[in-house]
Subunit: 497 residues, 2 copies
């Protein structure tokens, strides 16, 4: 064979390889303030009353084709979780330990008579250096974009305050942004209200004028827009990363007109019926996304991660009923260091070689998403500004079981999230390792120890039980050592003279 022909063939092969090695698509489908029990799919070993109350057939459908993580964690509130996901860092290291305000330079912590809030990164995450009170880091979508991914953000962003580059998804490596701003909640869920766009509310939702004045829910409008943005990469066989973050179920609790009646008929109280209707709305959105993948015959090359950014809201009167019970059997809810505030639903659907209808009880945490997604994308972790805390959940794609059970997961919120301390709210750190979880109240400098294997509801503080003081001491040392290594912001007692 003549030489030129060989070279030509080689070139051809190379170009085929470029075509052939298409990277998988990746979708993060993140729900806001969705609790571990806000679903008909049971993450606990037994089906709870909540699992019987709520209807999420598409989550059940997803679990059948994916892996459900029963012991998955976010942080107690939204921005820290979102920053951990996009940076791969634990909240105690990135120092965005509370939610960020719409406008910059406005720390959101409440004042306290006794405690002084530490300096924290109250302006959020920044892809550029030298922005005051931000964590400068390399963002996940930027890495994916640099490796040929078509990167889309749709829905709630809330990585940083306005007036800083981190508030702009286009500056974080996204090529498309629908409705992502510095705000953490919508002014309204209703098209009839123009999603609040007509008022002076900062939280008015952008990019949705098409639906103004119409009987359409925000969750539905965002779904339609997100799916539109996929048309280009799907048609042109470009791998995409869609970071689809619903505003739902965040307050204001507003009924989803399509799904409310069923819950009213059940005799549920007003707020709870609204909440239940919003759950069905977000589940319908998940179904629409799954349908889109099937219709376009890309379900097998598309990973989908379903997760919530923190536990379900459990404050009354925002919710109805008894406070801190809305995530039962888990204790407390959003904002809390107890399981109700941090344990979240997580289901990951892979390709046809990955686990299906599998449950996995390895403890995983939100910063694990960063290396996990890069591994799915076949990208070695490049040089990043930050050092990564997360561990890939996909070391072995086939069994999904490689994360060790005895790793330490750390939670840290040195801020005062609510004006009065709720159940496990404000000035808290915690470490989970294996079956044990140690909680540190930074206000009282006191500790609690729970055995999650035998006491999922964290009802029995076993710190004084036989043999447990040494276990507590061991966990306390490890927690403090991690917080010190991460130079975690710590509140101080005020000098009251």
């Amino acid at each position: 064979m003549p030489k030129y022909l060989l070279s030509f063939l080689f070139l051809c092969l190379f170009s085929f390889q470029l075509f052939g090695q298409k990277k998988p698509n990746i979708i993060i489908f993140m729900i806001d303030d969705m609790g571990w029990q806000d679903t008909s799919y049971p993450f606990a070993n037994e089906k709870s009353d909540f699992n019987k109350l709520y209807h999420t057939p598409n989550m059940e459908r997803l679990a059948k084709i994916g892996v459900a993580f029963t012991d998955a964690y976010s942080t107690p509130v939204c921005t820290p979780t979102r920053v951990s996901l996009i940076t791969g860092m634990n909240a105690s290291k990135h120092h965005v330990t509370n939610w960020t305000a719409p406008m910059k330079d406005k720390p959101t912590g409440n004042q306290d008579n006794q405690m002084q809030e530490p300096v924290w990164n109250h302006n959020g995450m920044s892809p550029e250096p030298n922005i005051p009170h931000t964590i400068y880091a390399t963002a996940l979508p930027q890495i994916l974009k640099d490796h040929g991914y078509f990167t889309i953000h749709a829905g709630k962003a809330h990585w940083a305050s306005a007036g800083t580059p981190g508030s702009n998804p286009y500056s974080l490596g996204f090529t498309v942004n629908i409705a992502g701003t510095s705000t953490g909640r919508p002014a309204s869920y209703w098209g009839e209200d123009n999603f609040g766009r007509t008022g002076s509310d900062y939280h008015a939702v952008e990019n949705l004028q098409e639906y103004f004045g119409q009987n359409i829910n925000l969750t539905e409008a965002l779904t339609r827009e997100a799916l539109k943005t996929l048309e280009f990469p799907v048609k042109n066989h470009i791998p995409f990363f869609l970071n689809f973050c619903h505003y739902a179920l965040h307050d204001p609790l507003m009924e989803d007109h399509r799904f409310i009646q069923k819950y009213i008929d059940k005799g549920m109280s007003s707020n709870e019926a609204k909440y239940a209707s919003m759950i069905v709305g977000m589940d319908k959105s998940l179904g629409d996304v799954l349908d889109f993948l099937e219709k376009n015959k890309i379900e097998d090359e598309t990973y989908l991660v379903f997760i919530s950014d923190n536990g379900g809201l459990s404050n009354v009167p925002s919710r109805d009923g008894k406070p801190y019970t809305h995530n039962k059997p888990l204790r407390s809810g959003k904002g809390s260091i107890y399981e109700g505030g941090i344990r979240v639903p997580l289901i990951i659907k892979g390709n046809n070689k990955d686990g299906k209808n599998v449950r996995n009880s390895n403890p995983v945490i939100i910063e694990d998403m960063f290396p996990t997604i890069l591994e799915i994308a076949g990208i070695k972790i490049p040089k990043t500004v930050q050092t990564i805390d997360g561990i890939s959940m996909l070391k072995g794609l086939k069994n999904w079981k490689t994360v060790t059970k005895d790793r330490a997961l750390v939670f840290h919120i040195p801020n005062k999230w609510t004006a009065t301390d709720g159940d496990g709210y404000n000035y808290r750190s915690a470490i989970r390792k294996g079956q044990y979880k140690l909680i540190w109240s930074l206000r009282n400098d006191s500790f609690e120890l729970y055995d999650l294997q035998n006491d999922l509801g964290e009802q029995d503080n076993i710190i004084q039980n036989p043999g447990m003081p040494s276990k507590a001491e061991e966990l306390k040392l490890e927690l403090k050592s991690i917080l010190e290594r991460n130079q975690a912001p710590m509140p101080k007692k005020k000098n009251i003279n």
Copy 2:
């Protein structure tokens, strides 16, 4: 050679061809309300006082590497122009004859004692059928997207009113939208004002939170965002279509801090100095785009169309000085059927085979952009809902001279744009053919005839001159015939009893 090798080679060749035949990139760089004289580049045969007053070095730079069209037309106001561009239809046919309101179902025409505004498509353009008071049409970006183009809209959109799909660039075939909404002007040009986003103003600009509270002009912020969106297609060698539409120079006239001092020092009046500074700002943006093309070595594969959507604003007191003189030697300004309202700067830069530093006096009109851009993209005009009125300007890419000089260009605004009839405002139609232009006042049913070759300023109505009544009759018949064919909306005299 074995058969399989042949097939393989054939496949290789085919895949190379896919790679090799990269379509050119296309940028539309549209300025709002920029007059024919708002530049240091003279479109008239002689350099005017305005050409000496204003500074647009980057337009001069563009003209050196492109073709300047001296006889280019838009429509008298913004939305009709934008709809013509995206549909290829004349305003008399698409019936969006006036600007569209931010919210749907609000015709924008002023009331008149004598005249009844006709029914027109006051909700703008729609990519979906059966939306009341819209023109249903196939949008240019949708066709480009369907043919593999990465389609981006940045800046002012204003194709339709909120509550309809045409208000959403994502529904018009754009894959990215920065700041495009149903509004036709910004609430503020200043980052310090958050571009109006904090107020209740509909005109607040979206997608720019990064710049809130900062000393940055809207024109600059949009430029930075638009260039960011090009990173993905440039890096991945995907042809792009960028529809970059500045809000500038639309009112409110607000100084561009960077460029105002020079004009104050010249002793210019306040509004005029502000206006001049906004011109420099938009020219600097053009320079940034050209620099981007050079830096990324894609200037030779990228077409750029510089155009304005209508003539320069000439209303006093919005402007200073004598009304209707701001586009001299052209008569009147924005809203008018006289040349000052409809003749616009147009420069097109092609690839290395196309004309450079060339002037072309063929009459061209905004709907010509539709077939022109498709021809640049190498796309045969596909089946569209609408029939196209425009003619490609690029029949011969080399000489750019193929548009016939004697074609008829029609202008039609059967609405009352301003509360009082300015110079050539309200209820007007016109036809230009060759050197002659006939204007029809629909209010008075009277006609004027001008010889543009010898009277660019439309000062001498020659309709009674020897030989001219028959010329006027000929043009009148052609104009009426076109308006009838297009079922153009026509105002009626009110029955005053």
